[in-house]
Every structure is written in C-alpha cells, then in structure tokens.
C-alpha cells in the first residue's frame, strides 16, 4: 500500500514535467500550427540555465596554497568563489546554495529570448510548409542545440543539488500511512501545478489571452478584425519556451542535467500531446499526469514480473488504445490536423 502511494507521488511529479512540456508543445501547435520537435531542447536549455547560474555563483578566484599538492605534485590551487569573497559566508553561501531556485529569475528572460529567436529566425519560415518539413527542421534544430550544449558543458551529467534544507525527505501521514518522500520532488509537483494554473489564468482572464484563444479557434477572422495575431503568437512561443525552461530549471535537482535529457522527454511529451488531443491544453495536462502515474505503476516489480518490459511500453500501449477508441485524443477538438 505504501508503495502504491509512493508511485502515485512519483507519477505526479514526473507527470508534472510531462504536462509542462506537453502544454508548451500543444500551445505552439494550437497557435502557430507547428509541431515543434525542438521543444524538448528548450526543457534541456532551461536545465542548463540552472547549471550556468550555479557556475556563475561558483565562479572562483584561485589562490595557490603551497602547503597542499595537486595530483601532479604541483602546489594546489584553492578555489574561493567570488560571491563568498564579496558577500561573506552568509549571503554568498546562500546564493550558492539557492542557485537552482534563483535560476528561475534568469530562466524567464533567457528562455523567452531563445523562444523569440527560434520562432523569428527559423520556424517562421516553415509555417506554410507541410508538417513533415516542420518536424524535420525542428528535430534538426534540437540536435544542433544539443550539440552546442555538449560542446560547452561536456557529455557527463552535472550535479545541481537543491538548497541544502530541501535535499532530504519529508515524513507524511496520508490515510494512516506513514510515507517519507523527497521534499524537492513534492516541491516540483506543486511548482508545476502553479505554473499550469498561471498559464490557464493568463489565457482565460486577460485580454491578451482572449485574443490568443480567439486566434487559435479562427485565425482568419481575428486577422480580419485588425488584430496582429502573428505578433501575439510569437509571444506565445516565447511563453511556451519559458514554461519548458522553468520545467527544466526545477527538474535539475531530480535529474542531473545532461545534453540529451531533452530528447528523452520530448518523445514522451509528444505522446502526451497526442493522447491529450492535439491543440488541447487541458488534454495535455490531464494526459501528462495520467501517463506519469501509469508509467510509475508499470515500473513496480509486481507488475513487471507479470508482464516483463511493460514499464517501457506502457505509454505507447495506452496511446494506441486511446487513439483507437478516441482518434482525436482524450480532449481533442474536431478539425485539428484533419484538413
């Protein structure tokens, strides 16, 4: 029983990441009509924004300590981070410790900029091309971005720990069960829920959001009303990029970032979008959490011993069943990708 609850928590936390990426994917698809296979790369870049933040705070001056030797027998160069030198152990130490959450502040502008450049510089030119072309060019872009990150940060995962107070586990009593679960993973779930809520509120309760929704429903009519819908859609691309980036930043303490983490998440997130229904935001969120939880259950030994390898195919299996019974996905609308 404990194990089941833990798996639900695991599923919610993982589902949170799927939902955030899938939401961006479906948002871009709904507004711009582009299947953006570089969206996983945006998640990865977000994670590396956190790495960069950590590097910036750990940027050190080297003091040669003649009493200690390095591995070649030369005097050891001791590194002292500049922030410690400037602000002392207290505030300087806090900055280093909190570099992951603080990276959110850096990630929002950086990711929106990356999104704008990507959309204006490359993807814009593919709006009128077939979906296959769009997939090819964005997939290629994802590989290019991946290689750039690998060039600068190497191929190994880079440890990016959570603030020291949030590294351990938290004891919880749910339905009389005493569970202990990693604090940061719970934070991640609540964080993703908050971001999802914020995006929904933005689209639902602002004039800008209303125009975007109108544009998603009928682009031509909105254009005829004299509204520059393209400009708004570009901004939506930036927002989608920022959402994926935030998902990446906060995920770094869970999974040490490496250059190919985007690809790992992209394929699953794409399935999430298809299961949820192309272009449906709430569908993407629901499917994200659903598939996250199902995947967690399928990884349990009891399930794996019944059906070996189920943990690796469950998501695709569910996708097949849902597409056979509901070809438009869980919450898909009529007319999307059907012309």
């Amino acid at each position: 029983m404990d194990a089941l609850f833990l798996q639900i928590l695991n599923g919610l936390e993982k589902g949170g990441a799927y939902a955030l990426i899938a939401m961006g994917l479906t948002l871009i698809f709904g507004t711009l009509g582009v299947v953006n296979f570089a969206h996983g790369a945006l998640f990865m870049i977000g994670a590396f924004v956190a790495v960069t933040m950590q590097r910036i705070f750990n940027f050190s001056l080297e003091i040669v300590d003649a009493t200690q030797k390095d591995f070649l027998g030369n005097p050891l160069k001791v590194k002292v981070p500049y922030v410690i030198e400037w602000f002392g152990d207290g505030f300087g130490g806090f900055l280093i410790d909190w570099s992951v959450p603080l990276a959110i502040l850096l990630a929002i502008p950086v990711m929106m900029l990356v999104g704008f450049v990507m959309e204006r510089g490359l993807i814009k030119h593919f709006y009128k091309r077939p979906h296959a072309d769009q997939i090819l060019v964005t997939f290629g872009l994802a590989i290019v971005l991946q290689e750039i990150v690998k060039y600068f940060f190497g191929a190994n995962p880079i440890p990016t720990p959570a603030p020291s107070d949030y590294r351990g586990t938290i004891e919880m009593a749910i339905f009389g069960l005493n569970l202990s679960y990693p604090v940061w993973r719970l934070i991640y779930f609540f964080f993703s829920a908050a971001v999802i809520a914020a995006v929904f509120a933005f689209l639902q309760f602002t004039t800008f959001g209303m125009v975007v929704r109108a544009g998603m429903a009928d682009r031509e009519t909105v254009g005829l009303l004299g509204i520059d819908i393209d400009r708004r859609f570009t901004l939506m691309f930036g927002i989608a990029a920022a959402v994926a980036g935030l998902a990446g930043v906060m995920y770094t303490p869970i999974l040490s970032p490496n250059y190919h983490m985007g690809m790992d998440f992209l394929v699953l997130s794409f399935v999430v979008v298809v299961v949820g229904g192309m272009g449906s935001l709430s569908g993407a969120v629901a499917a994200g959490f659903l598939l996250g939880i199902l995947q967690a259950f399928a990884s349990m030994n009891e399930v794996k011993s019944l059906i070996p390898g189920i943990d690796q195919i469950i998501i695709y299996l569910v996708a097949i069943v849902i597409l056979l019974t509901r070809p438009r996905g869980l919450l898909g609308r009529k007319g999307v990708m059907e012309d």
């Binding site: 194990a3 599923g11 191929a155 190994n156 995962p157 586990t169 990693p182 869970i254 790992d264 990884s299």
Partner: protein, 448 residues
C-alpha cells in the same frame, strides 16, 4: 507519381552500377594482400570506436584522449609515458614496425548497430588493422564479432561483462579490462568486513549483457557470504529518472541496495536513491547501505557528494604509486590538465600492448599478433604483473576495491583505494559456468 518512381529506380540503378564499379578495384587489391588491410605505405592506421554521445559518452571521450596520447607516444612525441616503464622494451617511439601510427575515430553512440556500422566503415573505407574502443559490453561484443569476421584484431577497452571473454569470446578479440566476476570476487570480503554476513540485498540492474552478468556475479559472491537476494529489477539503459524503481526498495525489507548501473545511469540512480533518504534509514536494525559494483572517476564526479562511503571496484586508479601509473598520470595530466580515468588507462594500455605484440611478431598479421598476445606476461603498466590468458584472451591482475571519499580535498579527490585484491583471489577457470562453461570457444583466428 509514376514519374517519381521511374527516377527513383533510375537513381538506384545508377547507384548500384557505380557502387559495383567502385568496389571492383578493392576486391582485386584485397585478394592480393596476405591479410585484411595489410599496410603497404609508410603508415599504419588504427580505429578507435567509442561513444561520443549517449549515456556513456564521457567515458568514451576520455578513452579518445588516451588513444591520442598513446599514438603520440608510439610516434615518439611527448615524454613517452609508459613506453619507458613497460616490461617489454620493443617500442622505441619510432612508430610500429617502422610505420608511423595514424588513427581514425568513430562514434558508437553506445548502440550496437551504430558501432558495427562505424567499425565496418573503419575496416573497409579507412583500412584499419586494429579496432579498439568500447564503453558498453553490448557494443564490445557486437564489434568483437564483426572484427572476427573481417579478420582484424579487436583490443576491447571499456567492457566489463563476463560475456566479452566468456560465452562471446573470439580468437581475434582481447580484453585488458577486468570483468563482473572479478568485481564480485574482489568486493565480497570487503563487504563482509564492513556490513557483516547477514544482509538482504535489492538489485537494480541495467537491462543488457553487462548488467545481467554483473548482477549474476555479485549476487553469487554475496550469497556465498550468507547474504540474501531479495529482488532483482531490470531497468532500461538511459532511463534517467529511476524514482519509480527506487520507491519499492523502501518497504521491501532489504537493507542493502546494489546498483548494477554504469555511467550516466549510475549517477542518476545513486543520486536519486540518496534523495529518497535510503542511506539515512535503519532496516532490520542495520544501517541501510548502497553498493556500486563498478566504479569510475567520471561517475564519481557526476554523483558528487552522494558517493561518500559507497563501495565499488575499479580496474585501475590514478592514485596508485607504481612507476607505470605515475608515468601515465604525468603525461596525461600535463596534456589534458586532469587525471586519467580508468577507461582512459585501459584504452592507452591496449593500444601499447597491440603495438608491442605487432613488434614482437614482426608483422601486422592478425593471427601472428594474436599468438604474440596469448599467454603474454607483462608489468610496468599500472596494477602489477599481468597475464593475457591464452584460453579466453582475458587479462589477469590485481583488482582495486574503492570507496567514495568522505571529505574530498579537491574535485579529483573523490575515491580512495580501500584494498588491492590480489590476483589469485579473482582468478577462475576458463570454462567457468558464468563464462559459457565448456562450450565456450575462441574459434579459429581469422586473417581475413
């Protein structure tokens, strides 16, 4: 539509004719040689086939650094490194058999099919006489059998599965690196001392040849101590998030978690196990412990403080004090500004051993080189006297038991050597059941 079909067929036809035309001269030249890719010019080419992308990429990149260094030393550049310390004194820094050594590299992506395609291209297009590389036993086994068929020598680098020199051993393939059985045999007595003989172990195992044999080996040697194996769960390579595999460990009644993972997978599974608070738990009245049977410095760096106090084994470590190790660490450290990893050491040593065998044999002919390597005893290359066993082409030498250091002094000071397990303790018969039993055979050496 039909027009398009026509042109496609046309392209195919033209391609086939051109391909046959291009292949024709090679067929004639290859029949003229005594063996595959016999070098005729003033140089000889080696192929280094390593993962430059994927979960084992960092190990592959470090192997490449070492290969490059080895080639430099063979050609007389740099300080000569282990050329000065190895017991066999045939190499003088003037190439191999008077020919300058050149090399080509390939990216295996840690995938068997990609690795085979890359090796194939090295053999046919680049004309290499030897392929080295690895990282992932699945890849090593696949490339080894390809080299066997093509008639060139495969000097396996980073491959730890029993199968490489066990049931999948080949006459043209040689392994310097230790294997899963040796890890199990070396670590068991240390575990017994540290954690006692009444433990319940839960295994998470990478789902491919290396993971399976690693799990089998360490389960056998810990069960011999009296430990119980509670469960063994196979996990996909490159899973990233292992939380859904780790959560069930908590209430399984196990008090030890054995991670049969490597590279990026090990970094993730270990870090996540620590996040789940496993190491702070008391189970069955004992402190919960985590074990990583196969360690590497690069993984230790990736896992950060999570490895502190965790036991594992290594083929070699730069902290050893013998002259061979010191010479290699100096050359490598001065060139790249960092100590070499175990993977780098194996890559370097295998290249030198090949060059030495070719020099002793007086030819690049694969079967003569194989004969020169079989039963070859050498020293001065780190980790003491070593023998290339003739029956299975596996090297036998001491094995290191390592532990994550509690208070690292710098970024490379991550692991400490707990014990140098003597070679006698990790030896086994060539027809051991874990190595394919009596049916396992090298087959016939192939010159191509």
């Amino acid at each position: 539509m039909s027009k398009m079909n026509f042109s496609r067929r046309g392209v195919l036809k033209t391609g086939a004719v051109t391909g046959a035309g291009l292949a024709l001269p090679t067929i004639f030249t290859s029949s003229a040689s005594a063996y595959t890719n016999e070098p005729t010019g003033s140089s000889v080419k080696l192929g280094f086939n390593v993962p430059q992308t994927g979960p084992y990429a960092e190990e592959g990149l470090d192997e490449l650094r070492a290969f490059e260094l080895a080639v430099q030393h063979l050609n007389g550049e740099g300080d000569g490194g282990m050329l000065n310390t190895m017991s066999s004194k045939t190499l003088g820094g003037n190439g191999v058999l008077g020919k300058k050594v050149e090399f080509v590299t390939g990216d295996t992506q840690t995938k068997s099919d990609v690795a085979r395609a890359s090796a194939q291209s090295m053999i046919q297009k680049d004309g290499v006489v030897m392929i080295s590389g690895g990282s992932s036993s699945g890849v090593a086994v696949a490339v080894q059998s390809l080299c066997q068929e093509a008639g060139i020598i495969f000097m396996a680098a980073l491959t730890h599965s029993n199968d490489t020199t066990g049931k999948d051993r080949k006459a043209n393939g040689f392994r310097y690196f230790f294997n899963a059985y040796m890890s199990g045999a070396a670590i068991a007595p240390v575990l017994s001392n540290a954690y006692g003989n009444e433990r319940r172990a839960y295994h998470l195992t990478a789902d491919y040849t290396w993971g399976w044999t690693q799990q089998e080996s360490i389960a056998a040697s810990t069960e011999a101590l009296g430990w119980e194996t509670v469960s063994n769960v196979l996990t996909p390579v490159g899973a990233g998030d292992f939380s859904s595999y780790i959560a069930p460990v908590i209430n399984s009644g196990a008090d030890v978690l054995i991670l049969n993972h490597y590279g990026g997978d090990m970094v993730n599974s270990l870090s996540q196990a620590v996040q789940f608070g496993l190491r702070d738990k008391m189970v069955n009245g004992k402190q919960f412990e985590i074990i990583v049977p196969l360690y590497s410095e690069l993984m230790a760096a990736g896992a950060g403080s999570n490895i502190q106090g965790v036991y594992g084994t290594m083929n070699w470590n730069w902290q050893l004090q013998d002259p061979g190790t010191q010479a290699f660490v100096k050359s490598f450290g001065e060139k790249y500004g960092r100590p070499p990893s175990g993977a780098a050491h194996t890559a370097y040593v295998q290249t030198l051993l090949y060059a030495d065998a070719a020099t002793r044999a007086g030819t690049f002919e694969p079967c003569q080189i194989a004969a020169a390597l079989e039963g070859f005893e050498f020293d001065g290359m780190g980790i003491g006297p070593t023998t290339y066993r003739a029956e299975d082409h596996q090297c036998f030498k001491d094995v290191l038991v390592m532990k994550g250091k509690d208070s690292p002094a710098n970024e490379y000071d991550t692991l400490e050597i707990v014990e140098v397990t003597p070679r006698a303790q990790v030896e086994y018969a060539a027809d051991h059941p874990m190595f394919g039993g009596a049916e396992a055979s090298l087959g016939e050496c192939n010159n191509g």
